[in-house]
């Protein structure tokens, strides 16, 4: 039976809670209702209200309590109903949690789960990709899984990690992506990218839901004789620079892709990393396909124009290939 992306996160959390009694969940409506997207449905019945803590609508309070409990040695997993509302807990995350290690060598083994991304007609505050707010913040780890396997393996690693982790779950993948998962236990290491497709002609470097867009584009391009390599970053911070640079050495042409907006998006960091490290291997300018520098509009045709898709990637990739 294939497991969905959502089910994979759920399984990962469940296994970690079974394994370690210090792991607990905290968030809005996560108990009986099972959270905004039902990721934690059934948890309160099994683990009890001591380990599945329903809260008021108080994101700053939720994150703060998770930090404090983490400092006491527990392993909290906080849920934001939508990644967009993480802004209400921003101070707690970027000022307090991110800087405990540096100030006091203190461990904040907290995970903040944040359902992000567009394509669901959610409008400007239910569609954002706010990962770069946190990638800019030393002391945090930032994860954006694309597959069910990685979602499960990475949430498990995040729970076990001794530093604060922001875990972005792409809403459009929750029920759309599924695969057969190993029966035996596994984890996926934080900070390691993955080659999602091998190719020799050009590299598409991406993460999250855009991995699927890249793979779709790669299919079409393969039929035209362009062999695309797709790198799925999986973790944005810390960034797996080695895997990125290895791919560039192999293909010599790079297309950077993200659903997040353009300016100061992940593409900028990747481009400079590549330039600093493997510049002499490049045969063409680095190009990017991203959302434009605008909020996410609700209106369906505008949102479609906003979001990167396979057609936009293919067009850029053809240009790059010809270069």
């Amino acid at each position: 039976m294939p497991t969905t992306y959502l089910e994979a996160i759920r399984e990962g959390l469940w296994e970690e809670m079974e394994r370690d009694p210090d792991v607990f969940l905290i968030g809005e409506d996560i108990g009986v209702y099972g959270g905004a997207f039902k990721v934690t449905a059934g948890f309160i019945e099994h683990f009890g209200a001591r380990r599945v803590v329903d809260t008021p609508i108080s994101e700053s309070g939720i994150v703060g309590a998770a930090i404090g409990a983490g400092l006491m040695g527990l392993r909290p997993v906080a849920e934001m109903q939508f990644a967009d509302f993480i802004s209400c807990g921003f101070d707690q995350i970027v000022n307090f949690a991110a800087k405990c290690r540096y100030r006091w060598n203190a461990a904040v083994p907290m995970v903040v789960r944040a359902p992000s991304g567009g394509g669901i007609h959610g409008g400007p505050f239910h569609s954002q990709n706010p990962e770069m707010w946190f990638v800019k913040t030393p002391g945090l780890k930032v994860i954006c899984p694309a597959t069910a396997y990685d979602a499960k393996g990475l949430i498990k690693s995040a729970v076990r990690d001794n530093d604060p982790v922001i875990f972005f779950e792409h809403k459009a993948l929750y029920r759309r992506i599924k695969e057969d998962l190993p029966a035996e236990e596994f984890t996926v290491p934080i900070g390691k990218a993955r080659v999602a497709r091998q190719g020799r002609d050009l590299s598409i470097i991406t993460y999250g839901a855009m991995v699927w867009v890249a793979l779709e584009a790669a299919e079409t391009l393969a039929a035209e004789g362009i062999e695309v390599e797709v790198i799925d970053l999986r973790t944005l911070l810390p960034l797996d620079r080695d895997t990125v640079c290895e791919s560039v050495k192999k293909t010599a042409k790079v297309l950077l892709l993200h659903e997040d907006t353009r300016t100061a998006g992940m593409a900028g960091e990747l481009a400079i990393t590549i330039t600093e490290t493997v510049f002499e291997h490049l045969d063409a300018p680095i190009v990017r396909v991203t959302a434009p520098d605008t909020p996410v509009p609700f209106s369906p045709p505008l949102e479609e124009a906003f979001l990167p898709n396979a057609a936009k990637v293919i067009e850029k990739a053809r240009w790059l290939h010809r270069y």
């Binding site: 809005e28 409506d29 108990g31 009986v32 209702y33 905004a36 329903d54 809260t55 008021p56 609508i57 108080s58 994101e59 700053s60 309070g61 967009d84 509302f85 802004s87 209400c88 007609h121 959610g122 409008g123 400007p124 505050f125 239910h126 434009p292 520098d293 605008t294 909020p295 509009p297 609700f298 209106s299 369906p300 045709p301 505008l302 479609e304 124009a305 906003f306």
Partner: protein, 318 residues
Amino acid sequence: MPAYPAPDLVRLYRALRLIRRSEEEIARIYPTDKIKSPVHLSIGQEAVSVGVCDALRADDFVSPTYRCHAAYLAKGGDLKAMFAELYGKASGCARGRGGSMHMIGLDHNIIGASAVVGTTVPVALGYALALKREGKGRVVALFLGDGATEEGVFYESLNFASLHRLPALFVCENNFYAIHAPLAKRWATARLCERVATFGIPAHMIPQSDVLEIRSKAAECLEAIRAGAGPAFLECHTYRWREHVGPGEDYDFGYRNRDELRPWQDKDAVSTLGASLDPGERARVDAAVEAEIAAAIEAAEQAEWPDTRELHNYVYAD
């Protein structure tokens, strides 16, 4: 309670009926997927918006929550612009960029609504600050849900409003739930008005959602606010009949049951006020409301989509 002459009752009924029927029509259209915006309906809660907004002057402001159709329409917001917004069309009140949770109607002093719970509360107080400076006795009625009182910014706002004696009427629509979580799981005590009163803000609880009572209490508060007394707070108990988001009902979701709904339906403002009117008058209002809604839906369906070249407009002033 003051007796209202017939025209006021008809006006109140018209507003109640317009909101109820507009939202029922949204629910009817919804399964066709022509409205792709998530919708949070106020069906059952109309009396709060109508009672408060009827007591406002046209030049006062209202700040709705993200569940904003009722306050938007009660303050006189354009129905065509609302439907077009729900459809995501260029003629929408936010040019289709926001959808259901982001209605705005500046020509009727309707402050833009926003989807993040609690965010609009301090923003509305900024309007109040400006209105105080202006000194024309104008007021902001700012709506919030019971859930919004759990955000820290709510308490920052109470303190600030009271400290600066801002011309703001807080209207808490307490429908006992935030999504599926009941008050008992979210509030350490239910004594909201007492909490608010400690900030030096007069706070009144209106338990039965009686539109006339809401209207007269709001009017009384507004008079004091205009006279410079500073903010006031109304906690209006009410009940959301439909699911938290979407067109349907949710009594089989396991968090509440229909027994809770019945007493609220029995005292439903739309039907009780309607029944008190002359039947001929009521029929005329109903027919006018139906025609207005049908025209708004028709206009939304015919309206143009925004041009995709517009995507980049309005990120900044040009």
